[in-house]
Subunit: 220 residues, 2 copies
DNA sequence: GTCTATAAGCTGATAGAC
DNA sequence: GTCTATCAGCTTATAGAC
């Protein structure tokens, strides 16, 4: 193998690496921009043009990477769902509800603060017929839901908490914590703020923890 | 005045009455259909054509009555807001929280059951920037919110309830009850149902009332 | 008042030069 | 891989006959 050939190969490798990097970088940028705009304006309210503009690319380029708008949307949802499930706190029967519930509320509130897009996009999908979330809801999410309800039942059996309805208890945990993402704008307007700050979330966490633990009869 | 003239006048009156009736009837039908479709598909997802089809009129006819799609949407929102505010339970300082809260939860849950469209359309608007609800939120709704928080404070002063954060307490009352409208689909999927029935709402009311009263230290 | 036809504008997607 | 130009389809809104 002579020098010229080696050089050519090396150059090709470098070029390919660079292209791969560009590709990864563009994919990442597009999906992050898309997530934000879908969360703000909803699926129908979002244009591919707007996403392209946010990334500084022509829209044909965005469609080169993702082929269709719906494909991009599905990509965003599935990415969020993965993160969502990974961060999902697993409450178990052997944990004491005092610590388990306190921790669950903390994690969910942190999620509402740090990744409100996920909660908002999910909420919009549910509101408009669960077009994209029906499948996961009927599958993995339902299993997780049922497991957690069983944990509540076992806590009730052990007299660690009052005999409250497990399903509705779960709905309450979700709706109260996710409200700080989904209805964050409403809350901030009513509290005369531009947006919710760390203090608001701290107070929310403190309030919810006390109310919910006391409500289901767990000693604090 | 001869008989012919009298007859003509009478006929004109009848005709006018009939036209007014038709007009009222059409307006009513259009706004009801629009409410349902906007709630299902969101503003951008709704076409004037779909509304017209639901009423059995050509879409030019719908636009004859409401001029623009946005005008129709505003009409729907303002109509729902009026009903919403009228049904709003006024909690007052002289009422005991036990009865006042119980009744508030009952009314809000009834609203989620009987008029989920209002809650859903409001939720979608908040989710996407409160384009149409910002004004009422900054005005009448904020006043009502502040008045109710004051009522909570006076209850706390009287030791009728624990010293919980009034603002966050209000958010909890809203999010937990409205969840049965906004996330009704999610709840029904997780409970293996097509839709929530009377029993589910009864259980929800019972659950929420117990949890919330106990949570804020009101005797039941 | 009602309805058909159509204008005007936007948006997703593609063709084709570079 | 990238970008300009453009097509095809949909949607709001209006013009104009009845």
């Amino acid at each position: 193998m002579n020098k010229e050939v080696k050089k050519t190969i090396k150059k090709n490798v470098q070029t390919r690496r660079k292209l791969i990097d560009i590709r990864q970088d563009n994919l990442e940028q597009i999906i992050v921009a898309a997530e934000n705009i879908f969360a703000e304006r909803g699926y129908k309210g979002t244009t591919v043009e707007a996403i392209a503009e946010a990334v500084g690319l022509p829209k044909a380029n965005v469609l080169y990477y993702f082929k269709t708008k719906e494909g991009l949307y599905k990509g965003v949802i599935s990415r969020l769902l993965t993160i969502w499930m990974a961060n999902m706190n697993q409450m178990t029967a052997d944990m004491h509800p005092k610590e388990a519930l306190r921790n669950y509320i903390l994690i969910k509130m942190r999620q509402s603060r740090e990744n409100p897009n996920a909660s908002r996009i999910f909420a919009a999908d549910i509101l408009h017929g669960a077009h994209y979330l029906r499948a996961p809801l009927e599958g993995e999410l339902k299993e997780q839901f049922n497991r957690t309800c069983d944990v509540f039942r076992s806590w009730i059996d052990k007299k660690w908490m009052n005999s409250v309805n497990p399903e509705h208890f779960m709905f309450m945990l979700w709706s109260t914590t996710q409200a700080y993402a989904d209805h964050g704008l409403q809350i901030s307007i009513l509290m005369n703020k531009d947006k919710l700050d760390d203090d608001d979330f701290e107070q929310g966490i403190k309030f919810l923890t006390e109310m919910i633990l006391k409500g289901c009869g767990v000693e604090t």
